[in-house]
Amino acid sequence: MPAVRETVDQVRSIDVDRYKYGFATDIASDRAPKGLSEDTVRFISAKKGEPDWMLEWRLGAYRRWLTLREPTWARVHYPKIDFQDIYYYAAPKGPAPKSLDEVDPQLLATYEKLGIPLREREILAGVERPRVAVDAVFDSVSVVTTFKDELKKAGVLFMSMSEAIREYPEIVRKYLGTVVPVTDNFYATLNSAVFSDGSFVYVPEGVRCPMELSTYFRINERNTGQFERTLIVAEKGAYVSYLEGCTAPMRDENQLHAAVVEIVALDDAEVKYSTVQNWYPGDKAGKGGVYNFVTKRGDCRGARSKISWTQVETGSAITWKYPSVILRGDDSVGEFFSIAVSNGYQQVDSGTKMTHLGKNTKSRIISKGIAAGHSSNTYRGLVSAHRKATGVRNHTVCDSLLIGPDSAAHTIPYIEARNARAQFEHEATTSKIGDDQLFYARQRGIGEEEAVALIVNGFVRDVIQQLPMEFAVEAQKLIGVSLEGSVG
C-alpha cells in the first residue's frame, strides 16, 4: 500500500520520537457533551441526519449495553474505564465538505503529513504508483473518500458509513448487525449504540473491484473515543481487497477505540482485509496509548466464498482483537494471518475464531507474536466444527518470539470438534532470539539492530508473504521501527 510506504518514509524524515505519527492537529471541533446516555445516542444520530430506524437500532443497543459488563477474560490489565468520562462524538467544525476542494486545508495537511494520498488529481497524475481509493476518517467522521465516482462506474459503492445509511438504507439495513449482532459483546454493543463513522463497501455480483480500497483512521481529539463501524458486502462472485491503517497523536491519557467490522461474502465471493494497526502505543514507561478493543468478523455466507484477514499489529497500549470467520457456506475458506509486535509496556491479546458450520470448509491460521521490552503478547484462538460440518479442516501455526528477559508470550488455543470427521492441526513454538543467532550474524559484520531485524523478518516471513507486495515492504519496516531499541 503506497499510503503506508509514504507514511513511513515521509514521517521518518520528520523524526519526532520513536512513534512517528504522534503530532496533533489543532482544529476546532464539534463535540457531543461528555458521557454516555440516551441523549448522547440521539445527539450522534441527529448529527448524522439518520433515519428513525437507525436511531431505534442504536437506542436498542444502548439499552442492551446497560445490562452488560466488561469482559475480563483477556490477559490484559488496565484501570477501570470510566465510560462517562469520554466524548463519544467529535468532528471538525463546520458543514460537511461536499468535495475535496471544501475540505479544511488543515485536515488535508494532516493527511499529507501522514502520507495518505487524498488528492485524486495528483494520484491520477502519478504513473507508476498503483492507485488506491481512500476513505479518511478523522475522529468521528469521514472527511473525504477518493475515487468514489470512478468506483461507482464499476458498480462498486465505497463511501462513509454515515453516507451509506442515508443513500443506501436498504443495503445497510439488510446486512448491518447480521455478522456481529447488537448483542454480541460489551464493546460491540457499545459500538452499535454510538458508532460514528467508518467505511461502507458494496461490490455487486460478478464484479472484481478495480482498485485497492483503504480506510485511514485517525484519532485526534483528547478524551475521545473512536467507534468506527465498517461493513463490507461482496455479492456472488465479487472480489475486493481492503486495507486499513490507523494512527493517533501521543497523549498522556488513554484513548478508547472500539470498532466493529463486518464482512459478508456470498457464493464464490472473496474478500481480503488487511490491517496495519499503528495506534499510539504509549510512552516508554507505559503512560498513555490507545485501548484497541475491536470486534471484527467475516461471514462466509455463500458456498465457496473466502475471507482472509491479514493484520500487522504494532501499535496500541492494549489490543483486544480477534478477527474471525464464520464458515457457513459449504466449501468456504477462512484465513487469518497475523503479526503482533509488542514492545515497552504494550499488552496484546489477539487471535481469531474459525467457526466451521458448512461442509468441507477450510481454515488456516498463522500467528506470529513478537514480544520485546516489558510487553505481554497472547495468542487466543478458537477453532470449532459444527456437528454436521463434515470434511472440515484447519491448520494452525502459532509462533512466538521473545526479545530480552522481561517480555512474555502466551498461546491459548481452543479446539472444539463436534464431529469425528473434522481434521484439526495445531503447531506452536516459542523461541527466544538466540544469542547464538545474534552472534552468528554479527560475526558476519551485521550490526546488532540490523541482525535483530533480519531474524525477526525471517520469523514473520510466511505472514508477510500474504500481504500485497508493496505493503509487505512497509510492514517489514514498521516492525523494524517498533522494535528499535529492544536490544542492547
Binding site: 552472534f439 550474524a441 554479527r442 560475526q443 558476519r444 559484520g445 540490523e450 533480519l454 523478518n457 525471517g458
Partner: protein, 253 residues
C-alpha cells in the same frame, strides 16, 4: 607488522569463572596458514570465540593486536568488518532468513563499513553463482533458510561460501572437518585452498591430522590446558597422528 599477535591471553567463562585460556601466545604473519591442534577441552574453540568477540567470555589478561589495532576493544561486527572471519564448528540456523538474504546483508554491511555503496543485485548474483558453483552448492540451497535443515556437509560448505564472498584477512576455521565425509571434506578443502593468498592468513583449528592433508599448514601449534605448548612445521601434525595427545594430558579445565 604481523597480521595477528596474541600475547599472554587469559580468558575465563563469565558464568562460572572457569579459566580456559591461560596465557596463549601466537603470532601469524600475512599469508601464513597456522594449524592449532590439541585434545578436547584444551581451549582451541574458546580461542576462536574470544578472537571473534563472542559474549560469555572475559579476557582477564593479555592482548590481541590485529593489524596493529586492539582487537579486543571492538564489537563482533567491527572485527568482522575489519577482516576477521570465523567458520563455525556448528553453524547456526536462522529460520525464515534465506541464505541469499543473509549473504547480501552481510556483504553490504562490510561494504558500508568501508564507505562503499550496496552491491547491485546482478553483481551480487554473479559473485554468488561463481562461488557457489565452485563449492558445488545449488541455487536452491541458497534460497532455503540459512542452515535450516542443512546436512553437516551443506552447513560447512555454506560457511566457506560466506568466507569466499566476504574475503577476510584472517579466516579462523573451527573444526571445519567435523561431520564431513571424505567427499565433502575434499570440496570444502578445495574451497579453502582456493582462498590462500599472500594477503590472507588462516588459523585452522582441528583435532585430527586428516584435514591438514588437504589444507597444508605452514605452522602447527599444539594447545594444552589453555596454552600453546609446542610449535613446529607441518611435520608436527604427522607426529601427533602417530603418538596421539597422551603426552599433552587431556585437559585441566
Amino acid at each position: 607488522m604481523a597480521l595477528l599477535e596474541i600475547r599472554n591471553l587469559h580468558a575465563r567463562i563469565k558464568d562460572d569463572g572457569r579459566e580456559i585460556l591461560r596465557g596463549v601466545d601466537l603470532v601469524i604473519e600475512r599469508g601464513q596458514v597456522h594449524a592449532v591442534m590439541g585434545p578436547n577441552g584444551s581451549g582451541k574453540s574458546t580461542l576462536a570465540y574470544v578472537l571473534a568477540g563472542k559474549d560469555g567470555y572475559e579476557v582477564t589478561e593479555g592482548q590481541v593486536l590485529f593489524d596493529g589495532e586492539d582487537l579486543l576493544a571492538l564489537e563482533p561486527e567491527e572485527r568482522a568488518q575489519k577482516g576477521v572471519f570465523l567458520a563455525f564448528q556448528y553453524p547456526v540456523e536462522i529460520p525464515g532468513v534465506a541464505g541469499m538474504t543473509f549473504l547480501k546483508t552481510a556483504i553490504n554491511a562490510h561494504r558500508r563499513a568501508r564507505g562503499e555503496g550496496d552491491l547491485s543485485t546482478p553483481d551480487f548474483m554473479r559473485r554468488v553463482r561463481d562461488a557457489s558453483d565452485r563449492l558445488q552448492m545449488t541455487q536452491d540451497m541458497l534460497r532455503r533458510p540459512i542452515n535450516t535443515g542443512f546436512s553437516g556437509g551443506e552447513k560447512k560448505r555454506n560457511e566457506i561460501l560466506q568466507m569466499t564472498l566476504l574475503e577476510p584477512k584472517l579466516a579462523i576455521l573451527d573444526e571445519t572437518d567435523s561431520g564431513l565425509d571424505i567427499d565433502a571434506l575434499r570440496i570444502v578443502s578445495n574451497g579453502v585452498n582456493a582462498l590462500r593468498d599472500p594477503e590472507r592468513s588462516m588459523l585452522v583449528i582441528t583435532h585430527y591430522q586428516r584435514l591438514l592433508e588437504h589444507i597444508v599448514p605452514d605452522f602447527v601449534h599444539v594447545m594444552s590446558a589453555g596454552r600453546v605448548v609446542r610449535s613446529g612445521g607441518k611435520e608436527l601434525a604427522l607426529e601427533l597422528e602417530a603418538t596421539g595427545y597422551a603426552d599433552y594430558g587431556s585437559d585441566a579445565a
